[in-house]
Symmetry: C2
Subunit: 546 residues, 2 copies
Amino acid sequence: MSAYNYQLIIKNILEWGVNRAPNKEIVYRDLVRYTWSQFYERVKRLANALEELGVKRGTKVAVLDWDTHRYLELYFAVPMMGAILHTINLRLPPEHILYTMKHAEDEVLVVRDEFLPIVERVKDMLPESLRTFIITSDTGTMPETKLEPAYDYESLVKEASPDYEFPELDENTDATIFYTSGTTGLPKGVIFTHRQITLHTLCVALVSLFPGEFHLTSQDVVMPLVPFFHVHSWGMPYVAALLGTKLVLPGRYDWDLILELMRKEGVTYTYCVPTILHALVYHPKAEEYRDVFSRLRASIGGAALPRGLALRARELGMKVTSGYGLSETCPVLTISGYKEHMLDWPEDKKLEVRLKTGLPIPLVKLRVVNEKGEDVPKDEKSIGEIVVRAPWCTREYYKDPEKTKELWKDGWLHTGDLAVWDEDGYVKIVGRLKFVIKSGGEWISPLILEDLLSTHPAVSEVAVIPVPHEKWGERPIAVIVPKAEYKDKITEDDLRKFMLKLADEGKVAKWWIPDRFIFTDSLPKTGTGKVDVLKLIEQYKTLKLE
Amino acid sequence: MSAYNYQLIIKNILEWGVNRAPNKEIVYRDLVRYTWSQFYERVKRLANALEELGVKRGTKVAVLDWDTHRYLELYFAVPMMGAILHTINLRLPPEHILYTMKHAEDEVLVVRDEFLPIVERVKDMLPESLRTFIITSDTGTMPETKLEPAYDYESLVKEASPDYEFPELDENTDATIFYTSGTTGLPKGVIFTHRQITLHTLCVALVSLFPGEFHLTSQDVVMPLVPFFHVHSWGMPYVAALLGTKLVLPGRYDWDLILELMRKEGVTYTYCVPTILHALVYHPKAEEYRDVFSRLRASIGGAALPRGLALRARELGMKVTSGYGLSETCPVLTISGYKEHMLDWPEDKKLEVRLKTGLPIPLVKLRVVNEKGEDVPKDEKSIGEIVVRAPWCTREYYKDPEKTKELWKDGWLHTGDLAVWDEDGYVKIVGRLKFVIKSGGEWISPLILEDLLSTHPAVSEVAVIPVPHEKWGERPIAVIVPKAEYKDKITEDDLRKFMLKLADEGKVAKWWIPDRFIFTDSLPKTGTGKVDVLKLIEQYKTLKLE
């Protein structure tokens, strides 16, 4: 007998976590409550049932569901069998969903009862590879469906044997696939292996050993507020399994229920995009939940954390940290912790640190480079593209060698994000390579302008976009949703004066000040809840500027 | 260009750590102080110098030194070049050292000036492979030597270029080799790869995310008190590099200096064997250093932590945790943290948890099995052998397929350690498979008896060993070093009565009580500072028992 060749596979994360914390709970809304040990039994039953239905190594199993305990079971059972989990982005237009299912060659679709009508409507356009449907439901009964063959998830789990020996996979086995929402063109598929997910899990967890407000430990109670279909819900379900935290799953977002669940279950940690944080902290009943907010820490990613929003969260007693990553990077690349010498800094200076995109998490190599691939100076002014190497960067865009080549130009993953960095190595995103504003040959960062505008008391949401300009090429304009109490009271001139004052204080260059401040009732959003910049640009492209 | 294939290599740990914390200090005694960034520059210079001397991929570079900053430089430079670091165990008898150097086929020997006379004495017996000597010294001058060719370490570093690009090694490249001190037979060589050391580093660091007193973070000031030649100093220099902690190196142990350094440099974390902890907390001036002890945490391994010693450390304000591992396992396997439900337990109940050998650290799979390889019940009574799987178990005994086969019987690494475990999964070592006492066909654990005896106020050190017995096969006897103030006052009968009382309280079976309590001035120690049980057994094997 020779040495055991230990592989970095998801099974080893789950088994270690369950072994340490078998009795910690997983809670789904006010509907389901069980322990991690019971969870693992259901994962084994599910694997038996899937095997019975013909799921083998490499089979793609697609899922259309909210963040439920059943989705969590699929997160583990499917990859641990050697099959591949396709987390379908619910927010994509139906034709894009169909495209991704065909492209991935999904064979099994797990679908929530409320999405059945949509799937049935496109029944004849579903990919030929698809041969089995599994229906999930909170009602306890299997709905009628035209899809066939269709099985009831709960019956499958109930009837299957709880004995299942998950295989000793090679760590480079593919575990998951999903599609980037693709602000331009068709969605692109990215695949992650067991090794990538395992190392991402270890290194995201390690961040808590460095000072900062991320600080997630086994004692936390975690509520995901990033959909399970969105880049492994930032990988946090796997981190929660390793640490054996109590996990509270919100299902479809219902803010009243979420706040109640947070209170009842003692949630201490969440993570979400700024839009979701906005919904939480500006909830009409937010003041009544100060007890909840005051024990809550949140990591914010997916878009820059606006200063005004961070201040509002702080005011409610929350601790908020920024993070940064991409679909292509599993996703986490940076989190905005402190360095030891910053711990004694005054709170406002520390806030500046937290508002940066942060420091690379363990093992991530990150550079900010110019078009020639050279590092730009660490002076907080010179703008360059973020390029990275990490043990969890996707190896390719699925079936797209051309785009893969672009992504991995020079052996570094090109993020397409523009940033500045400082002497301490902190990066701050200033825009997308695609969306940056070029005025008179110089770059203007929409993010920096949005950040400053968000601190005006009348501003609820803001997007800064480029508009074509005869003389300057492009000029920035700001599209603003005012707070209810300021509606029809705040004027364009007020905001211009506000920005001029900031310019006087040296906080922004005068020529960066947007040419127009336009008020609107709401901003268009993408499938993942971010502001749909492309749509806005389209909408205002004919705006005449002086 | 295709995706970058990120490897788990030591370079990536060091570069990440230095990048985050370039200005944290490394201090060697009261002699040297520099930053991690200056450290890395010296590591590059050293690599250039070694390359100049012919060190290539696979070259074995042996080191004979105390825990110095130079040794730390070699810890990184040698493996990062693709060469293999042989950490020679200073405490081995010279003929064993020679044996290991021949067996490893060392080509370069880095030797401290004070060990030169020993090496020169055996000059003609040195392995033929050895072709270069490098001398380290704190004096600033190169001593005269008969060895040739011989180079001065500091001159080499000074004269070499600071520009060196460490190669992108395959993660399965061998990084280190050392020899187990081998209580029986010749020393056995174990090798660790970059991947093993990297994963060990990540997972040892992760332990601090679970409740307990280990709790090492980037803010700690670490002083190793496990020699660098002993299983990578438990891997902690690599953990310190990743976390970017301040690191204080004691060189040759001088207790007065160590206590002074701890005070002056603000040391918060150390790790050592019980013998070293004993030297610290029973130091004649210990009381004067309560300020030092009260901010100090220590992880104790290498032998079971005796209760009396733990209580003494506690009494001085120290926090002490047990850990467990082997030379063959890089070494860490378990650390004695708490589970969340134990946090409210009273202090004495928590002490019991800390005195156990602990819980497996992340990714370690550990079982306690009987001779048939079946798990023994988790009842704290049934004794079995600990077998493990971890991403950092050595793949083999170097050039010894027979012993490797034994080690990896059934695909599990057989530790040779006997233990009981409890429902929560905590293991407690009760003895070595080789040293356990078999009386009337039943096992008696020397460790449990030593632990109980250590709580008697008169006992400074104690070893329980088997002595042949006509009727019972073997019976335990206790060999005891009394505290100075109890010498010639404590009697065999006192201790027998003490044990009988514990038996009455149900803390030990009556038939386990040692047949004899023998007083002595000191216990023989092995090269790594543990009690030399074999020597004691030899010494008392003809003792007549009734």
